[in-house]
Symmetry: C5
Subunit: 305 residues, 5 copies
């Protein structure tokens, strides 16, 4: 157990030993084990965007075993997926990589202004599949966000009582926000803070832009002279919003990037801003396994540096 991991665990003293153990399992697994940084492979795009859009670019991805193997071979800290995808491999790869069950999902067969995520798995499912944690999404900014908070809170209570880590995907979205506002620095900071207040062990948000959505936030940020000009500075602000840096917050990879250099630049800024890592899906599984392993190797090297 490294000192850094001990330090991170010390921020979670109110959690039971089960949660601490499972958080430590993730922090200590894979090539970044012990560094306090994480790279997680998430594959819920089949649910979210449909199988053709998700896996046609690299058809090996239709097979759920492929993603287990990719996460294991690249040395990720954990692999996150919906119920069916985990059921299809959890026994085959038992004990080889920490698993996070993504327990709510949304499809794109409709185009609602205010969406929500259906509960698609239970805490008991996570336990029977040997997972270390449960992942759930909230949409701050949706008119339905309040109901989502309530469900996620209920799951968080059950998950943590069962010793599972709670990972909250906090994605600002919905009729209450402008399109640019979805990644505005104030909104991302607020979304991350809500996840932390709901009791998240790990928080996942998108990398923020320098837009500010809400006038009152603009006044506060500018009044206090909080720097948000660079991604690194914005990452720093988001970690502040996560209890002054006392919660693990990681960043999604977003849409498929044009060049690996773009990916690595973003990762470097996350690292330097104090972010705890990345959760990166499409940029990995939509290319060939060889290319994906190369990219993940670069990412791991940035975080491990």
């Amino acid at each position: 157990m490294t000192e850094r991991v001990r330090e991170i665990l010390s921020w979670y003293k109110s959690e039971n030993p089960g949660v601490l153990t499972n958080l430590a399992r993730m922090l200590n697994h894979g090539r970044l084990g012990g560094t306090g940084r994480m790279v997680i492979l998430p594959v819920d795009q089949g649910w979210e965007h449909g199988p053709a859009r998700s896996f046609a670019p690299n058809p090996e991805g239709f097979n759920p075993h492929y993603h287990f193997q990719l996460a294991i071979e690249s040395g990720c800290n954990a692999y996150a997926a919906p119920l069916g995808f985990l059921e299809a491999g959890a026994a085959d790869f038992a004990g080889e990589i920490p698993l996070i069950l993504k327990a709510n999902n949304h499809d794109s067969l409709a185009d609602e202004e205010d969406s929500w995520q259906a509960l698609t798995a239970s805490i008991e499912d996570a336990l029977r599949l040997g997972c270390v944690g449960v992942g759930m999404t909230i949409y701050p900014g949706s008119a339905l966000r309040m109901e989502m908070y309530e469900k996620v809170r209920e799951y968080a209570e059950q998950a943590k009582a069962a010793g599972l880590a709670m990972v909250i995907w906090s994605y600002a979205r919905g009729s209450q926000l402008s399109k640019k506002g979805e990644t505005a620095i104030d909104v991302i900071g607020y979304a991350a803070h809500i996840a932390a207040q709901l009791g998240a062990t790990i928080i996942k948000v998108k990398p923020p832009t320098e837009d500010i959505e809400q006038a009152a936030a603009k006044k506060a940020i500018e009044g206090a002279g909080i720097p948000i000009g660079t991604l690194q500075e914005r990452i720093k602000h988001v970690t502040d919003c996560c209890f002054g840096g006392r919660r693990v917050v990681i960043f999604s990879g977003g849409a498929k990037k044009d060049s690996d250099a773009d990916v690595i630049d973003e990762i470097t800024a996350i690292r330097d801003g104090g972010g705890f890592g990345s959760i990166i899906g499409r940029n990995c599984f939509q290319r060939s396994k060889k290319d994906a392993l190369e990219l993940l190797d670069k990412i791991v090297k940035v975080y491990g540096a």
Copy 2:
């Protein structure tokens, strides 16, 4: 136990022995027993379309015993029906054919744009009636699909915990789709994938057409050069969407066909595309028993070839 059945069971390693046993019971029953292919007789049309539309063409069908007998005599793998129909024969034909309790239903006394299915039976009902599985319908494309996913997921968890197989009828339908979109290849693939992600043991969809409903799916399918010109190719894509072929997916017979040759052509394409079988109702019970047995004999011979 044939090697093929063992192979199929190997895809479900995360399931408990109860689910594996009941899946094996279906795979090993009837004339196709051991081949890894299935023909299931479903009779929920009394609920869905009303008794007159369903049974007037062959009035023997008003009597629920008739359908048990038809499924048994034709050598089907299983018989699926709603609560009342199973209650009316489960004791009389106990042990003669694997039963699937269709646990949600919808009538056609109204013409809603976005429909859903009412819960019309419970897991306990399935157990007391000696069933091997529970069947439920979802309507991806309906504005009410999310609530349906949640209910079906809940049932799936309970059913599988009780050792029952979970069969999901995934029928794209509703205000979010065009009429043609209901059977478009991308939508059928997406619908099948959702069922698999919800934890289905067996997935039932309609045979897909070569329409593509969503622009992003069109781009992905064409970009990757996935062939969808023939039914056989489309069936192959649907099995890919079901975890790269690692889930049993079967196809409905659809509307009553004009000629048996049309039925057999479709069955042949399903077989050659890697589909696992058919669930075929109206084309069987709406003709005389003699004719139905002849048609089922032909179908079984195609799948058994």
Copy 3:
């Protein structure tokens, strides 16, 4: 135990001995005991139409004891009423007549296009009051029918697990139907079938007219040459819709009739069509006890002939 009652019980082999016993209690009670026919006195009109409209014509009916006595003295098979009315006499007349607790109700203080019935009693109420069964209403044709099916199914499961018979009043009604459609032969047949599929032990519908509401049903009925010209023929079709005659279906008396001859004609047609009896309220309790006993005597004689 007569052969006919044994035969009827043989259709319910999937039910537990408790349900069979309570069904037998009704079939064996009163003047029609053992014939396989039933006359049931229902008094829920106080709830449905208000006490003044219901009981002013014969003010003895304000007193709940009156209806127990009428049902007992006339030799009915059972007496059905809402919670309060049964509470007000169940102890006083304990063991004198089989009781059915009407467990959902609707008032006429509003004039909604799509109505539903509120749950007004529980299975536990039925058990503590010594009932043989529970009665509930569904409104196929209402926009709220699906929620009603779900509640009734839940009650049916609980009732039958507790050994109680489940009686479903299936009254087509609501915005999805024309006024004439509420008693159209296809709609009545469909409504009766739904009740049977929901697991009803006994089904109650209105006598059907020769209207056909749905075009697809018209085509099926005419295509198969199903005769519906006379009430007797229509009753026969309704019994077919109830699992080919393998479920007990009884018919309501409808609105107060002008002459007893009209009532008797209807009863005769029900009998000759294979209906299992009548559930007849307003035509009994809204006349003097002497007149009511005379009418019920005539009805019993028709069914017993």
Copy 4:
């Protein structure tokens, strides 16, 4: 135990001894003990109209102890109030007066066309506070009445199972009724009947006017020649609607009256019409204690005569 109280208890033979005991406690308490008549002090106006409107006229009423004392000193049969008001005195005045916990409430901070009452206490609260009964309001005539019936029924079942009396305030109100219709004789009779059917031990309604709201009721009442010209006659009809007089029905005092003579006239008509008593709040606690005791003395004397 007087013969009259025994007679009243004999109407409730289906209830368990706990309910009978608590009903007897109310009937035997206070100055009217044993007469079969009741006067109950209700103080829920703080909730319903706000504290200023309720208690400013007699500021002693801000203190919850005042109302306990008023009910005790005036010799009422029982005191009814919401959770907070009972919590604030139940221990201080334990055993001095039967208590009824008003378990749902509504404020007047909004002006909804169709209102309902929020659940503001539980059966367990009633038990821990030593109450003899639970009181709840329904609004027949509201578009939300059905949901209210369901909740009240649920509470009634729990309350009576725990040996508590169930008191239902049945106040016709809502978009489905005209303003005059709220106290029309047919509506009051219907509202009282619904409460009785829901299993009420004691029913509370407003004194009816001679208006008739519904055409069908008008026809029935006039057709049967039911006299409704005087308040006494109307009270008689309401008791008829309560199971032919076999349920205890009491009447609210309504708005603050101009003169005591008006109050006494109303009480006299209630008594002579066969009503079982009054539940009278604002006319008591909004005057000085001395004046209130004088008025209650007059009322008790009328009922005890």
Copy 5:
């Protein structure tokens, strides 16, 4: 145990010893311990207004430990915060200050006319974190207030059964009120009374203005000559509305004040009107710790005088 604290506890005789103990813990803690007055530090603004608006003015506040320390060092009676903020320090500061878990919350990512608060923690959370009480908000005046009353009541029942004090933030707000009406004296009095009726141990409202929102209340207040001209008089009226002074009612600090003198004037009026203390957040944690300690010192001195 001082006489004043004994007196306050004597108003809560219906509560179990657990609730009395936890109320006493708050009353006896800190610099005001034993005086019967309280100052509570609440920090839920991260949830309610977002982290940037809340903590940018004094960035130490991003760290949840800061607020524990501020409450402890200033000698507050208790510290109140949402789940995440308490989880982040409850173990670190165990036993150093009474904690109140704010169990429902609302964000300002949307601008709804009628808002509500999502459940964001449970009673079990409060127990596992060692809290003395649970805090919840209601919005009298919102069209959704009824649902909020029901949830808060449910929590109050559970909390008090577990021996926890129940603190209700009663904030009038919503489409049913004018903007000025939110702090009008009649509305604040009504809101406080509702909280007391729901079973609150401690009630929190805003300081009232001399506006009167409702005509009927205006008539009652003026008719009775209740003085409301000064804040002190209005505070007195609010304590009257809280069961004639028999419930602990405290007042929020409201928006950040321009000068400390304004704060102290308000505190003095609260004290002289008989208010039990203050719950004051933004005016403390949005300035430097040194300034906050100075202000809190002044406030404590006013209350302790």
